[in-house]
Subunit: 153 residues, 2 copies
DNA sequence: ACGAAGTAATCTGTCAAGCAGACGATATGC
DNA sequence: GCATATCGTCTGCTTGACAGATTACTTCGT
């Protein structure tokens, strides 16, 4: 049941956010990329891809599109000339702010059948579960149990 | 944050269930199909597809494979000879029981960083939210199940 | 009863998305 | 300096989904 509930909710979330992200290239994917760049500022293109679970070769043409739309820019990292730092343009920030607002509203509507006092509970539990379930860097933390929530950014 | 938590959790759930479903064709998809057939018994192939949000032409080759593996059978519906009733074989039931057990364990592990008393809370909230968010068939029924009644859409 | 229209499942062709692998450019270790 | 690893890009291939046509059957209208 857990998996199915997640599937249904994420599907519905995607549909709504797809609509909220109509100004962005690549819909939901695009929203997640732009959001990660602005809010988390991963240092390199590869880090960004890893964070979102996207293949590096896919990242290339996603960013091509974003750069073409003037939402993001690739800059040579002066410390490592192989790497590109992905930075949002002012326009990108503005657009994201708008979309973020629409997404927040969509999420509200998505949970509208839940009693208002339950919504923050759900969000907190989900976030905690997601943080604990995430693979990768802190695999030990997951095993260590509730203790390990000390992570970078 | 809601969307991202859902994405991360579902991704991790899929990875674990993919592993738990290694006896089944088509991985997670296959598990959902078999599970829906056994536990929900939708009357026709089309109903099954609609329930899982799968295209009807895709359903065709999914079921081809399941039938080839002896997990499911297509039987002519005697009432409507256009339609096929999808019924599980004994073997299918047995395999599903095994996989279900593995999935249950995987879901437990997935939530292992959550305090045990919080897990049923999360599950209940998720299920309620999913029922309320789902489009289509029984929007009224879902609403009627909770506090507010009688809102026809 | 007969034909028209609708519906269940399948088949066919097409198209996009993603991945593995190769490649040029740079960095690092010996 | 040379071997090896990494960052980002490019190429080719495979896969997977959808639209549309097709076959089989039902239902409705007259």
């Amino acid at each position: 049941m857990l998996g199915w509930s997640l599937t249904v909710l994420l599907r519905e979330w995607s549909a709504r956010v797809e609509d909220a992200s109509r100004d962005l290239p690549h819909g939901v994917r695009g929203y997640q990329v732009l959001s990660a760049v602005v809010h988390d500022a991963p240092p390199t293109q590869a880090a960004l891809a890893a964070r979102l679970g996207i293949d590096r070769t896919v990242m290339t043409y996603l960013l091509d599109k974003f750069e073409g739309c003037g939402l993001l820019e690739r800059r040579q990292d002066p410390a490592d000339r192989r790497a590109r730092r992905i930075v949002p343009t002012d326009h990108g920030r503005r657009v994201l702010a708008e979309v973020d607002a629409r997404v927040a509203q969509a999420e509200d509507e998505l949970l509208s059948t839940l009693p208002p006092e339950d919504r923050p509970v759900l969000l907190a539990l989900l976030e905690h579960a997601a943080a604990g379930a995430a693979p990768g860097e802190d695999r030990c933390a997951a095993v260590a149990g509730s203790a390990g929530l000390t992570r970078e950014a």
